[in-house]
């Protein structure tokens, strides 16, 4: 009941999904697949709030124990629950002007700023990690350098208007980059298929842990 039934559910659901994708044209299977897709999205939407519960747990504990930075944690929870409850009870949908204000004027620009500040960390981390200690690190740096110069007018300016950096960047992206990425992709796909099979057949059960026997 505690392990076998969930594993059986996993197997049956996966089997229905696979069969309905390979045997197209059968109305019953098509309906089942459509239903499973819709159910999956709904379950996913309900489960998303687990993130909110986790955040509340972590920051709630920090506030309760008055650990360092607890005021920030309190503020985070106020923002989180405030945004959630105001959206549900006041905005009542994604067309409300308040909802658009919060997304377009606050959340989206903050998101862009957080990501943009990462450029400085990437730069300093790259300097520390990729200092040319081996041939591979050197190749990585040279390619990155060409890619960067090929994407901005500075590259052409340095060569007196010659587009060599842009041409080289395009070729690097199209040929060796695609080749390397494709190799990784095929390897990852094979790994994903093997893992999916292991999960479906109940060989891989590690994900069941953490909830008792």
């Amino acid at each position: 009941m505690k392990k076998e039934v969930p594993l059986a559910i996993c197997f049956i659901v996966a089997l229905i999904y696979i069969v309905s994708n390979y045997f197209t044209g059968v109305e019953f299977l098509a309906t089942m697949k459509d239903l499973l897709d819709k159910w999956y999205l709904s379950v996913d939407a309900i489960v998303v709030a687990i993130g909110m519960v986790n955040l509340a747990q972590i920051h709630g504990r920090r506030v309760a124990n008055k650990r360092e930075g607890w005021l920030f944690s309190l503020w985070l929870m106020l923002c989180m629950f405030g945004m959630f409850f105001v959206s549900i009870f006041w905005f009542k949908g994604t067309t409300h002007v308040g909802w658009n204000f919060m997304y377009k004027m606050i959340i989206s620009p903050m998101n862009a700023t957080v990501y943009s500040t990462l450029v400085f960390y990437i730069g300093s981390a790259a300097y520390r990690s990729f200092r040319i200690r081996s041939m591979e690190a050197g190749i990585l740096l040279v390619v990155a350098f060409i890619m960067m110069l090929g994407r901005v007018p500075l590259g052409a300016m340095l060569l007196g208007g010659n587009q060599a950096f842009a041409t080289a960047a395009d070729w690097l992206l199209r040929v060796p980059n695609s080749a390397g990425m494709r190799g990784i992709q095929i390897g990852a796909a094979l790994g994903g298929i093997a893992t999916a099979l292991r999960i479906m057949l109940g060989i891989e059960r590690g994900y069941l842990g953490g909830t008792g026997e």
Binding site: K3, I9, C10, A14, Y17, I18, N21, K38, W39, Y40, S42, V43, A45, I46, I50, G51, V53, L55, F72, S73, L76, C79, M80, M83, T94, N100, M102, M105, I106, I107, P109, A112, T113, V114, T117, V119, I122, M135, A137, I139, V143, I146, M147, A169, W171, L172, R174, P176, A179, G180, M181, R182, G183, I184, A189, G192, I193, A196, I199, Y207
Partner: protein, 213 residues
């Protein structure tokens, strides 16, 4: 959006942008305040969005409105995930986990196979002779050799010595080129985001520069 709200939003956006950018110099309370605001608002926003897009339409319109009783299944399955927080019945969350994993594995074994494996292998079969253009032929050779050697690098069941070692070294170099290109592109994307924020601060907010669109 009313003009007053846009003006308020512009000032708020500018303040939060400056607070977030201060982290470039050092981690400080101003940055932590903005960071906690962002995380809180984004978490609340994401959960509210899931509610508006999936939970409410399915419960209110489909289940209650149209009487489609099958919607009870994903609601129960989704809610079962929250039993993780109640120790004696925490194992019930496995039902929810196994349902989503079942669909996930079914998806990988049926739909992911073609784009991430079959199509990738097929696209690697490039003409290695008689293309009529030496540059295309060379690029195709680099492509095929790069992909195959990158794959060989992930063969961990074979010792990386002799010919095998040489092949996997070529694979490693190909992957380094790919990582270099990915790194260069990431840096440029972040720089572009940073420039966007600077344009906002100096143009939209302070009106010190004019922005040509």
């Amino acid at each position: 959006m009313p003009e007053t709200l846009v003006n308020v939003g512009t000032h708020l956006q500018a303040i939060f942008t400056i607070l977030l950018i201060t982290v470039i110099f050092k981690d400080n309370p101003a940055y932590r305040f903005a960071e906690h605001t962002f995380v809180g608002l984004f978490a609340g926003y994401t959960v509210a969005l899931s509610y508006f897009q999936y939970v409410r339409p399915n419960v209110k319109d489909q289940l209650i409105g149209k009487g489609e009783l099958h919607w009870i299944v994903p609601i129960i399955v989704g809610l079962l995930m929250y039993t993780r927080y109640i120790k004696p019945i925490a194992w019930l969350s496995r039902y929810s986990l196994c349902f989503t994993l079942g669909i996930g594995t079914g998806y990988v074994l049926s739909k992911d196979m073609k784009p991430f494996f079959v199509d990738q292998v097929r696209a690697t079969f490039l003409p290695l002779w008689g293309t009529g253009d030496w540059w295309t032929t060379t690029s195709n050779w680099i492509y095929v050799v790069g992909t195959v050697t990158a794959l060989v690098y992930f063969l961990f069941t074979l010792q990386k010595k002799g010919v095998q070692g040489g092949i996997s070294k070529i694979g490693r170099i190909t992957m380094m080129v790919a990582f270099g290109a990915a790194f260069g592109n990431t840096v440029m994307a972040r720089v572009s985001l940073f420039l966007g924020r600077m344009q906002f601060l100096l143009g939209n907010w302070l009106k010190l520069i004019s922005i040509r669109v």
